[in-house]
Structures are given as C-alpha cells and as structure tokens.
C-alpha cells in the first residue's frame, strides 16, 4: 500500500509540475488551466456549478462551448464529451477530502487511462481476465502503458496482476 501511495504522490507531483511549467506531452492535449494549484475540498463540489472555469474538454473547450449550436455546427464531437486527466485528479482530491482515499486511487488510475483509445482499453481489460494472458503478455502491456501512455500507476497494476496470476494460477494455460 505504502509503495502505491508513494507512486501516486510522485505522479501527482509530476502532473502538477507539468501544469505549472505549461509543458504538454503527446498524451495531454488539454490546455493546462491557469495556476490552479490549491487542493480541492468538499466545499468545491460540485465542480459543474462551483468551478465551471476549471472544466475543459480534452480538446480544451470550456463548458459553455458545449452547446446545441456548436453540436449542430459540427464543432462538438464525441471526443469532446470526455473527462480529462485534470478533472479526474480534482474529483480525486474531493473524494479524499470526503474521507474516501480508495476512490482517489481509482481516479488516479482512470486519469492515466483517459489517454488510451476505446478499443485499446477494452483489449487491455480483456487481457486481465483469467487465463487470457501469459506473464509476458501482461508485462508487455505494463511496458506499453509506461512507454506509450505515460501510465505508471496502471503499469504497476498489470505487473502486480502478473505476479499474483502466476502464483495463483490464472495465466493462459493454467485452466
């Protein structure tokens, strides 16, 4: 647990650092929002009404741009209607402030997964199902999560699964 906590902390710090320096990598297409660095509390909830300015679509559109007019003009695509890494991070802070640290951890994994296309994510889920993958298959996905998607928390999730699937006989061929 402690190990995972440290990792989450490290990632969060990294993300915040990237935000301040305005750095973007290929996964993070959203425009970083100003200098919002304060950790959110339950009084910041709901974000929709209390902090609409913080909410952006993955392509950087504001909430007010998500309207019927723009949909009909073709300016709002299905991909615009997805949550971003940053928003999940904020909802995670709110969950933790409400006494639910496990939810924050789930949102931290989810934040990483925002970068991964639908088909890919479904395939990754399939690979974690029992008897689907060899240990190497799972470790390869972990590597891919790290290298291609900047998703170290999810990568360690796959590595942990690989370890336990081996000892508890859930790998391909174990059935």
């Amino acid at each position: 647990m402690a190990e995972m906590d440290d990792l989450v902390k490290k990632i969060m710090a990294q993300m915040q650092q990237e935000q301040t320096s305005g750095q973007t990598d290929k996964q993070r297409t959203a425009t970083p929002t100003a200098s919002q660095q304060k950790t959110l509390n339950t009084s910041d909830y709901p974000l929709f009404s209390k902090h609409p300015e913080m909410i952006k679509s993955p392509s950087g559109k504001g909430l007010d741009e998500i309207n019927l007019d723009n949909v009909m003009k073709g300016n709002v695509k299905a991909d615009d209607l997805r949550i971003t890494r940053e928003t999940l991070q904020r909802q995670g802070e709110i969950a933790k402030a409400a006494g639910r640290p496990a939810i924050q951890k789930n949102f931290a994994r989810a934040a990483e997964l925002t970068a991964i296309p639908d088909d890919k994510i479904l395939a990754m889920y399939g690979a974690l199902r029992p008897y689907r993958s060899s240990k190497q298959d799972l470790e390869d996905i972990a590597q891919e999560l790290e290298d291609e998607y900047n998703a170290p928390i999810c990568a360690s999730w796959f590595r942990e699964a690989a370890k336990y699937y081996e000892s508890r006989k859930k790998l391909k061929g174990d059935n």
């Binding site: 647990m1 402690a2 995972m4 339950t42 909830y45 709901p46 974000l47 929709f48 009404s49 909410i55 952006k56 679509s57 909430l63 998500i66 309207n67 019927l68 949909v71 009909m72 709002v76 695509k77 299905a78 209607l81 997805r82 949550i83 928003t87 999940l88 909802q91 709110i94 969950a95 409400a98 006494g99 639910r100 496990a102 939810i103 924050q104 951890k105 789930n106 949102f107 994994r109 989810a110 934040a111 997964l113 925002t114 991964i116 639908d118 479904l122 990754m124 889920y125 399939g126 974690l128 199902r129 029992p130 008897y131 999730w157 942990e160 699964a161 336990y164 699937y165 508890r168 859930k170």
Partner: protein
C-alpha cells in the same frame, strides 16, 4: 393419514410454492455466522498483511491478496479487530454516534469482523443502523425498463412514464443481446424526454456494457459482478485486478459505475467453500471498496431465492446492505428479482430497506408489469404502484416514488415515443410507425404493441455500431426533428461527463441537473429531529399525500 383440513387448506397458499431449505453449511446454505466461518484476525508485518481472518499469507487467494492490500485501513486494523463487536454494534444503532465516527472503525475491519458486528443486530436494529449509515441523506429507488420483445418504442414510453413517477436511475437489458444499442438509446431518450437528469444504463456483458457507455448511449453501469470465492470469481470470467481495472475504465470516460454482488451467488455456482453467505458477501463488499468504486448493488440480487430459503436469510440480506453502507459505499439494496409467490412475503422482503431508506431501495423495481421484465421479474412491478404509494402515504416514508396523473403519463409516453421515432428515422434505423407511437402511448405490456420486424431491428443495431454512431448523433437527430428540449437534455447528460461530479458516492441528478450525492447531501441522521424526514421535504410529501384516488372532502357532495 387422514388430512387435517386446516393443514390441507394451508398447503394451497402461495407461500407453499416458495423453496425452503434447512441449514446445510457444507454447501453454503447458511445465512450468517456459519460453523466454518473464520474468526476475525489480522497480522501486519512491515506494512504487509501476513494473516487475514485466520489465514496465512501463503494461503491467500486473489481476493485475500486484493483486500489485504487495498481494502482495509491497515493503520487501525489491528486495534479495531480487537475491539468488542457488541460495542461497535451498539454504536451502529445509537443515534448519538455519528456516521463518520463509525466509518473510521469499519474502514479498518476485516471481512470476518464486519460479519461478526452485524450478526449482533436484530432486524429492527439493522433498520435503525441503515437509516443512519446510508451515505446519501435523501433516499431514492431505481427502476427496470424492459419488455420481452425488446420493443424500443415501448422502452422509450415506459422510461418516460417511470421518470415522471420519480426513478432517478433506470436500467434496461435485452431479451436478445444484439438489441442492446437500440434499447440503450431508447431508454436514455425516453427518460430525458420526460424528466431531465435521469441516469440510464443497459445491463449486458461487461465489455459490451462499457462500450455502450463510451458511445454515449448510457450514463452509468451496475452489472459489474464480483464474488466471494476465488473459483466463482474465475467462473464469472474476471479477477479482482480485472474488475478493478474495469472500474477505472468507466471513470476514465466520466461514467458512473457500481459493482454488483449478493449472497447466494457462490452457492448457486457451486463453490461456497462451506462459508456463510454473509461472510462471503463481506469479502465482496471489501473488494468493492478496495477497487475505489463508489457503490455496490447487493442484497441477494438475482440469487435472492438462496438466502430467502434459509433461516434468518432475509435478515442477513438487510445485514449485507448495512455492511455496504457501513464501509461508506453507495448501496443499491436489491429488492429486485422476484423470489416469492406470496404477496405478504414479498412485502416482508422489502420492508427493512423501505423503512430505513437506502440510496436505492430497489435496484430494479419493475416499471412494467413483470410479464415484460426480462430480468426474470422483480419483487414489485408496475401493477404494485398504487399499493406502494399507499405504503408511503400510510407510513410517511419516502420510498422514492410518487403518484402521477393519468393525463400527464399519457402526454409523456406519447412525447417519448415520438422522440424515439424521430431518432430512428434520422439514424436510418427501421421505421417506427405512427401506429406504434399510438400503441406505446396507451400500452400496459408488449402484448399491446404491434409486431416489429425484429431481424431488421437487429441489423439496424449492428449497423449503428459499425457506423460508429454516438450520443452526439442522437442529439443531432432529436434537434433535426424539433425535439430541441430533449436534444438539450441528452447533451446535458453527456456534458456532465466532463465535470465528473456524478462519479462521487451515491450521485443522482434532480430535474435541473443539480447533482445530489453523499458529498453535498451527506446523511446527517442523529436521532429524532435530524436526517431526512418526508414531511420536511414538503414538495415530495405533497405529491405523496395527494393520492389521485383519495376522496377530496372539499369537493365531496354530501
């Protein structure tokens, strides 16, 4: 033997059609505190759990490993496991002890400890505890919207009907799996056309269900099943790690989700490992918590016949709902699948959750007559509505529903049917005729609906997936045909994914898209004068008081 006539008469009563089994712990036919259930224990060395409920780490299965790592507050676990369970049980029904104080303790419990605490409570005490422990202050309920012919016009009309009656969450499924995208679009369009803010889901296979959500056809998911023994978990084609990952997949798309478990499933699948149903359920609950999932649908659910067959089984089912709430998870408390032929008994089944109030008293009240319920029938159905309203009115309890005028229902059903007709036309799906719209407006069941070309519908459904149609296309279709308000509602639902407020515990929306969750509507019950009281929720109480078939003295001609 010459029959004693009273015995012969009693045997004809509906309750004799129900199944009852004497306790048989080896096969898991025991509700709680079975002879083979482990005693609570935990040992932690260097931050790693080396013993859990009497089991050494080398013998841990995947569920133990997962719970030990992610599901228990290890900082306080050793101390809490040593606490007197009767004392904790007392705190649960003592109104002077606040919810938060208890959650701190229960977050550090092992599965066996949770079972032991809850087993100290009688049924009335469980009701008192649940009243305090449910995360959301305002209770609600959820509805099933299905029909045996997967008729999309009827689904849309029934979803609108149910939305007006007060269901903030609605769930559909299919009779034929390939219909899933059509059923999903129909329930979402129908519900939004009548009452903006209703959350909708389509229960199908795990990966397919996620895919529907990603496409913007649904807003949440619930049929993410977890089990209490490793072999049943594997038979269910998942592991704790795959389910935990799936949970994160949903959150990554801004979709609400909860897990599903429920006592009896391990017995049904033949691998209860000799443990009681409540003990196995406590494992499911902690593995839900461990996954960082906000909530759980539990309480027997579709296996209710199993706990319902053994002594203290229905008490134990309320107990498992309570454990879910005790560890701070949203609780959708089942009362869904039909399990008894006796009207008295199906009322009994519901009474605990109904009186206490839960996040969703039923996680599938059938909004159609059970004839059309493709979840194999629910404990209460559309023909029970008037009885249910009278319960609420008699006891001044908010069961999550309220009466609606016939005229308003006709209007809403018609509008929903027309809206889905427009969507089908715009998306190039098989035509919905005016005759079908008219039939859906006035229908009770799918027997009242004209036949559709089901082969054409299934082809259309597949085509929809192949073409990559999304929720945005549904919004456009509605707008193109003048259903601007429905288009706006549908878009608002998609827009909420950006904010993610409804990913928090126990979240629903009101008709103005205000989120109501355990964060901004947290349960503050601390005895009389506190917590949710129906008569203080004046608008809702007026609706429930105003029973359409009550005599109005002011208009009576004496």
């Amino acid at each position: 033997m010459k029959r004693q006539q009273r015995f012969a008469e009693l045997e004809k009563r509906p309750v004799h059609l129900d199944g009852f089994v004497k306790e048989w712990p080896e096969e898991g036919f025991i509700a709680m505190m079975g002879p083979n259930d482990p005693k609570p224990s935990i040992k932690i060395e260097n931050g790693v759990v080396t013993e859990l409920d009497g089991k050494k780490r080398d013998d841990f299965d995947l569920i133990d490993l997962y719970i030990a790592k992610y599901g228990i507050d290890l900082e306080h676990a050793e101390e809490v496991v040593k606490m007197d369970s009767v004392k904790i049980a007392n705190m649960l029904c003592d109104p002077n002890v606040g919810r938060q104080e208890i959650v701190k303790i229960t977050s550090a419990c092992t599965p066996a400890k949770l079972e032991e605490i809850v087993s100290k409570l009688n049924f009335a005490e469980m009701i008192m505890a649940a009243q305090k422990m449910r995360p959301r202050r305002t209770p609600a309920t959820q509805g099933h919207v299905t029909n045996i012919r997967d008729n999309p016009v009827q689904i849309a009309a029934d979803a609108a009907d149910a939305a007006l009656r007060g269901f903030p969450e609605q769930e559909t499924t299919t009779a034929i799996a390939r219909y899933a995208p059509l059923n999903a679009i129909a329930i979402t369009t129908g519900a939004q056309s009548a009452r903006p803010g209703v959350l909708t889901q389509c229960s199908v296979e795990e990966a397919a269900e996620l895919s529907l959500g990603m496409r913007g056809f649904t807003a949440y998911a619930e049929t993410i099943s977890v089990y209490g023994t490793d072999s049943v978990f594997t038979d269910g084609d998942d592991t704790p790690w795959s389910k935990g990952f799936l949970a994160s997949c949903y959150a990554s798309r801004g979709l609400k989700m909860r897990f599903t478990s429920g006592s009896g499933s391990e017995v049904m699948m033949g691998h209860a490992e000799g443990k009681s149903m409540l003990y196995l359920e406590c494992r499911c609950i902690l593995l839900t918590k461990a996954s960082g999932v906000q909530g759980l649908q539990n309480g027997g659910v579709s296996c209710i016949g199993i706990p319902g067959s053994v002594p203290s089984g229905i008490r134990s089912v309320l107990g498992e709902n309570l454990v879910c709430m005790m560890v701070d998870l949203e609780c959708a408390s089942a009362n869904d699948q039909a399990f008894s032929h006796s009207d008295m008994r199906r009322t009994e089944r519901m009474i605990g959750q109904f009186i206490a109030g839960t996040d969703y008293i039923s996680s599938g009240y059938s909004t159609t007559p059970n004839y059309d319920n493709t979840f194999a029938g629910s404990n209460a159905d559309a023909h029970d509505y008037d009885d249910y309203y009278v319960w609420e009115r008699d006891l001044a309890v908010n069961g999550g529903l309220h009466p609606v005028e016939e005229e308003d229902i006709i209007k809403a059903r018609n509008y929903a049917a027309k809206a889905i007709q427009a969507v089908f036309e715009d998306l190039g799906l098989p035509k919905i005729t005016d005759e079908e719209v008219e039939a859906a407006t006035y229908a009770d069941t799918s027997k009242d609906m004209p036949d559709r070309d089901m082969v054409a519908d299934m082809k259309g459904a597949q085509d929809l997936l192949d073409r990559g149609v999304t929720g945005v296309d549904v919004v456009k279709a509605l707008y193109n045909h003048g259903f601007t308000d429905v288009a706006k509602s549908y878009l608002n639902l998609l827009q909420q994914r950006l904010a993610g407020d409804f990913l928090q515990t126990s979240a629903i929306f009101d008709e103005n898209w205000n989120v109501i969750s355990a964060i901004n509507d947290s349960n503050d019950y601390k005895g009389p004068g506190t917590g949710y009281r129906l008569w203080e929720d004046t608008d809702e109480w007026e609706r429930i008081k105003d029973l359409p078939f009550a005599v109005d003295g002011k208009n009576a001609k004496l």
